[in-house]
């Protein structure tokens, strides 16, 4: 049986891509060290940054909030209540976020999609004729950015991990989505009303993040969002993991080589769509009216239809 490379204790994980076995005491130290290294490598954060962590109640975002705090960053949380009633998903997710906020003694801000946009995500998706995850993603990006701008935060940190990023990259490559590829990076600098976005966990697989969160004693919502069943991203993640089993290190090579060699070329060659303030809310958009204001309109119209007005 393998032993922990650092202390020869009983290992909790063997990472083939690093040829590294670590025990439950050494693994969190390694994980924090790698997080700090990633933040520095990509120049994600400065000591002056006011950080807002996008907290969902899942293992990635809660693990990230905990890790940043352990590394000495002053990071607050923002939980966006999506209003998903099935299996009390939103309610339970929020409670996990609140538990960690209490442990960290850091503020957790809470916004409700129903209050901010007019309807909870499932109804908003129906009213605006979008799939729920598309509506959800658009609303979350909007609310995180607006809240950060209005409250003086200079960086939004999200818990995206290597599996998320490699699956997104695979999907974008399969369709040769040039504009999306040009913007797929571990850090998106601030510009034109958009707050800087950083992904300090891009170096870790989902399993590594889950292990860190569990060993840190952080309870999180294990249940997947009811709307994610059958999602393409899960299929791509499964495919990539099958490749990883045969060829350890492939996921990181796929993603990191793209980030270092290909993305800068694409970013230089493909001009980004021009952003301008939404005529209704003033938030940056490529259209006259931003997608969230259009969803608001759809939600109001849908309400009128529902009540027979």
């Amino acid at each position: 049986m393998k032993r922990c490379l650092w202390c020869k204790g009983k290992p909790v994980i063997y990472m083939r891509e690093h040829r590294l076995a670590l025990c439950k005491a050494c693994y969190p130290k390694w994980f924090l060290r790698m997080t700090e290294r990633t933040i520095k490598e990509f120049r994600m954060l400065t000591p002056d940054d006011r950080i807002l962590v996008a907290v969902s109640g899942g293992k990635d975002s809660l693990g990230l909030w905990f890790a940043l705090t352990r590394l000495g960053y002053e990071a607050d949380g923002l939980y966006v209540d999506l209003g998903i009633a099935a299996d009390e998903y939103s309610q339970r997710s929020k409670e996990f976020a609140q538990q960690l906020a209490q442990r960290l003694q850091r503020p957790l801000h809470i916004l409700s999609v129903a209050e901010e946009v007019g309807k909870p995500v499932p109804e908003l998706a129906r009213a605006s004729e979008r799939v729920p995850c598309s509506a959800c993603g658009a609303v979350k990006r909007y609310l995180f950015n607006r809240f950060a701008l209005e409250n003086g935060y200079t960086a939004i940190a999200t818990g995206h991990n290597l599996d998320d990023e490699a699956a997104t990259l695979l999907g974008n490559v399969l369709r040769w989505q040039g504009e999306y590829l040009a913007r797929q990076a571990p850090i998106l600098p601030a510009k034109d009303g958009l707050v800087k976005r950083v992904k300090p966990f891009v170096r870790f697989t989902e399993k590594q993040v889950a292990l860190f969160t569990i060993l840190s004693g952080i309870p999180y919502i294990e249940q997947e969002c009811p709307f994610s069943v059958g999602a393409a991203s899960l299929f791509y993640k499964d495919l990539l993991n099958r490749i990883e089993e045969r060829s350890p290190g492939t996921k990181w090579a796929f993603y990191s080589q793209f980030v270092h060699k290909v993305q800068p070329l694409l970013a230089g060659a493909i001009s980004e769509p021009e952003l301008r303030p939404c005529l209704r809310c003033g938030m940056p958009t490529t259209a006259e009216i931003c997608v969230v204001c259009r969803m608001k309109t759809a939600a109001i119209s849908d309400g009128r239809i529902a009540t027979g007005e």
Binding site: M1, Y14, K59, C133, G137, E206, K207
Partner: protein, 68 residues
Amino acid sequence: MKVHFRGQTFEFDRPMTVQELLKELNLSPESTLVLRGEEVLTEDERLREDDEVRVISAISGGFFPLRG
């Protein structure tokens, strides 16, 4: 042995390694953690017939976002 996974309980009547268990459940070791109580087990760990373990899938995801 009793295996709890996603709200279901599976029973196996023979000892096996964690790696063999994951194969039985058709799960990738790249995306799965196996816990016996509070103890996190590596793939080469041998499970006994009277063990009770919990399998956690680390994979989560939603709609394919097609963006960075």
